[in-house]
Symmetry: C2
Subunit: 358 residues, 2 copies
C-alpha cells in the first residue's frame, strides 16, 4: 500500500463506518447496545466503541440505561439518538401562512411557529423568515440545541436560491438570501418537502403525495427517497392536462388539473374529484406507485377519486392503488424541510463532525 | 477484530474492489493501464494487479498493447473489456416479430436474428424463443463465447416468469419457462428494456423512451438507470388519459393515448401527434425529464409533438424538453435485454466469477 493512498482510504472508511453506526442507531428508536451494533455491522466491538465515543462527543448519540438484560450480568447501556445538540430548521412560505419548526435527530418537533398571512411580496417574505429563524434560534438555545442548517419550502419552481416561478405568490425570478439570523439556508419545492414530511410520519416506502392548496403540486417517493427529477422540478401534477381543450391556466396551457381542483378554482366536488382522478390515474400509470396521499382540501375527495383510479389504472385489477389522507396536514412541508437537515447529518456524520470542529 | 468478522469483511471488500476496477475498465473503451486504475481507485498497484489477473482468468478483461507511452520507457499494457467469454442473450416477443441478439462485455453485437411473425400464442412463442436461443448458443460457441444468461422482452405487464397481461398478443396470466436451451432466462417489459438499449446506444443520462407499436409503452431513465416503479410496471404511457370521455380502450378505461396514437388506432397524424403531445406533456410535468426519445411509427411525429410540449410543459420556458427519434429502432429491446446481462456482470464480477467456478 503506497503512502499516498493510506489517509484517503482511512478517511473514507471512517466516514462509512460512522454513517453505518449512526444509521443503525437511528433505525432503532428504543436504542441498541454496542454489542448489537457490532453484530449488525460486522465491525469489531473496539471499533464500534471508538465510533460511538466520537458520536457522543459530537452530540449525535447518547447512552441510556438498559431496562432489562434478560437477568444475566450487568445491563448493557443502550445507544440512542441524542435529543440534544444538532437540530434542523424547516420553514415555509405559502399563500396563506408562513411557518417554521425545529426537529431533533430523534425526529421530535422541539419548536413550531405558524403565522397566518396573505401572499407576501419577496421582501416581506424574507423579513418574515428572518423573524421565524430568530425565534427558532432562541427557542433552540434555551433547550441547549444548535440549529445546524435550515431549509425553506416554497410553492414553486426553485433552483438554488432562485425561485423561477411561484404563480400563486406572483413571484417571478426572485432571489432569496443564502443565510438568515446566522443560519445557512437552502430552498426546495413545497410539495417535495411535504412528501418527505409524510415519509417521516408514516414510514410508507413509496407513494405520491398531493399538496392541495390554491395550486396543486406533488412529491414522488420511491423506496424512502424523493424523486426530484433532473432539476428538482418533478411532481407538477397541477399542470397535468385533464381536458386538452379545457379551461385556460395561468401557466399558458389549457385544461390543467389546477383549474378544476385547485382550492379557489373548484366549481363542484364531483368535477374536482373526477379531474383529480384522471390526473392521478395518469401519474400511477406512469410511476407504478402503490399509494396516493392527499393533502389539504383534497383529502375528503379520496372515495370519489378511488373509483376513478380503479377504472383508469391499467394494473388496478392486480393491485389497486390505496388512497389516504395526509397525516401531518399543513405541517408536512416544514417537518420535511427540517428532516432534510437531520437526515443529512445521519447519512454523513463525518461531514457534520468536521464542520463543528472548524 | 474478531475471527468471525474477518472473512465477511474481506469478501465484501474483494467484491467491491473487483467491481470498482471492472467498471473503470468498462468506462474507458480504449483501455486503461494498471497504474491509471490504481490512481483512479486509490488501491495499491499490487492490489490492482492481483484483481486484473483474476478478471483476466475469468475472461472478463484482457490486455492490449499500448500504442504510445509518450516516448518514455516500455509502453504499459492496457486493460480492456474482453470481447470473448461471457456474453448476454437478449430476446423479444412482439406483435409482428420475434428476435434475439448476443452482446459482449464491450457492447458489441456478436449475433442477431429476427423473424417476422404474426402474434404468437404462448406455446408457439416459447418454441420460437427456444429456436432463437439454440441458434444464439451455436453462434456464440463458434466464436468461443459463453452465454451467461438471457433476458426476454415482452410487450406487457411482467412479474417474475408470469405475463399478467400482454393485450396486443392477447395473453392473460401466461407463465413462461425459466430456462431454454440450457440458458437461464428472466423476463421484462419491452419498453423498459428498449429504453436500456437506447441508453446503451446514446449515453443520454435521463430521458423518456416511447415505444410505438400497436400498443404504446414507455421506459423512464434517470441518471443512467431505469425507473421500474415499485413492481416493474412504470411507464404505461399508452394508458395515460388524453380525453376523459374519449374512445373506449381495451383496458376498460376511456380516452387512453393508445386509442389515438397506436399503430392501428391512428386516424390522422395531427390527431395522433396532439394526443401524444398531451400525454408526453403530463409525463414531463410529472417527471422533469430533459429529453423524449420516440421509437417506431411515432418518430416522425417529433416536430408536431414539440409544439404541444412547448405549450403544455410548465418548465418549457426555462428548459424546453428535446425530442428525438430512437437510434436503434426495433433492435432497442433485444439490445437492452442483452445489456441487462452484461451490465450485471460488470456491476458484480465477483458473483459471476463464483458462478463459473461452481
Amino acid at each position: 500500500m503506497s503512502g499516498r493512498d493510506v489517509p484517503i482510504r482511512q478517511r473514507a472508511l471512517r466516514s462509512h463506518n460512522l454513517a453505518v453506526v449512526l444509521r443503525h442507531v437511528a433505525d432503532r428508536r428504543g436504542g441498541v447496545s454496542r454489542a448489537a451494533i457490532a453484530a449488525h455491522s460486522g465491525l469489531t466491538k473496539a471499533t464500534v466503541s471508538a465510533i460511538v465515543d466520537e458520536l457522543v462527543a459530537g452530540g449525535l448519540v447518547s447512552f441510556s440505561a438498559s431496562a432489562d438484560n434478560g437477568g444475566v450480568g450487568r445491563p448493557a447501556p443502550r445507544v440512542t439518538l441524542a435529543g440534544a445538540r444538532p437540530v434542523g430548521l424547516g420553514m415555509e412560505i405559502n399563500v396563506d401562512y408562513v411557518a417554521a419548526c425545529v426537529l431533533d435527530l430523534s425526529g421530535a418537533v422541539r419548536h413550531r411557529q405558524v403565522f397566518d398571512s396573505p401572499p407576501l411580496a419577496p421582501a416581506a417574505a424574507v423579513a418574515a423568515l428572518a423573524s421565524l429563524a430568530e425565534n427558532a434560534c432562541a427557542a433552540a438555545q434555551s433547550e441547549g440545541l444548535t440549529i445546524a442548517r435550515g431549509v425553506v419550502a416554497v410553492p414553486g419552481l426553485v433552483e438554488g436560491t432562485t425561485v423561477h416561478l411561484a404563480p400563486n405568490l406572483d413571484w417571478h425570478e426572485v432571489t432569496l438570501p443564502a443565510s438568515l439570523a446566522g443560519i445557512d439556508l437552502s430552498f426546495g419545492n413545497e410539495a417535495n418537502l411535504a412528501a418527505l414530511g409524510e415519509l417521516h410520519a408514516t414510514g410508507l416506502p413509496s407513494f405520491l403525495y398531493v399538496s392541495g392548496e390554491i395550486g396543486i403540486g406533488a412529491g414522488i417517493v420511491f423506496h424512502h427517497q424523493i424523486l426530484p427529477g433532473t432539476r428538482g422540478w418533478a411532481g407538477e401534477l397541477g399542470h397535468v392536462t385533464v381536458d386538452p381543450d379545457g379551461r385556460a391556466c395561468r401557466c399558458g396551457s389549457q385544461g390543467c388539473l389546477e383549474q378544476y381542483a385547485g382550492k379557489h378554482a373548484m366549481r363542484s366536488v364531483e368535477e374536482a374529484a373526477s379531474a383529480l382522478g384522471v390526473a392521478l390515474s395518469s401519474a400511477v400509470n406512469l410511476l407504478d406507485l402503490p399509494t396516493v396521499v392527499l393533502g389539504g382540501h383534497l383529502a375528503p375527495l379520496a372515495p370519489l377519486v378511488d373509483a376513478e383510479l380503479r377504472g383508469r389504472v391499467l394494473t388496478a385489477k392486480w393491485a389497486p392503488p390505496t388512497i389516504r389522507a395526509s397525516t401531518l396536514g399543513s405541517d408536512a412541508a416544514i417537518i420535511g424541510a427540517a428532516r432534510t437537515v437531520t437526515q443529512a447529518i445521519i447519512d454523513d456524520p463525518a461531514a457534520y463532525l468536521t464542520s463543528i470542529r472548524a
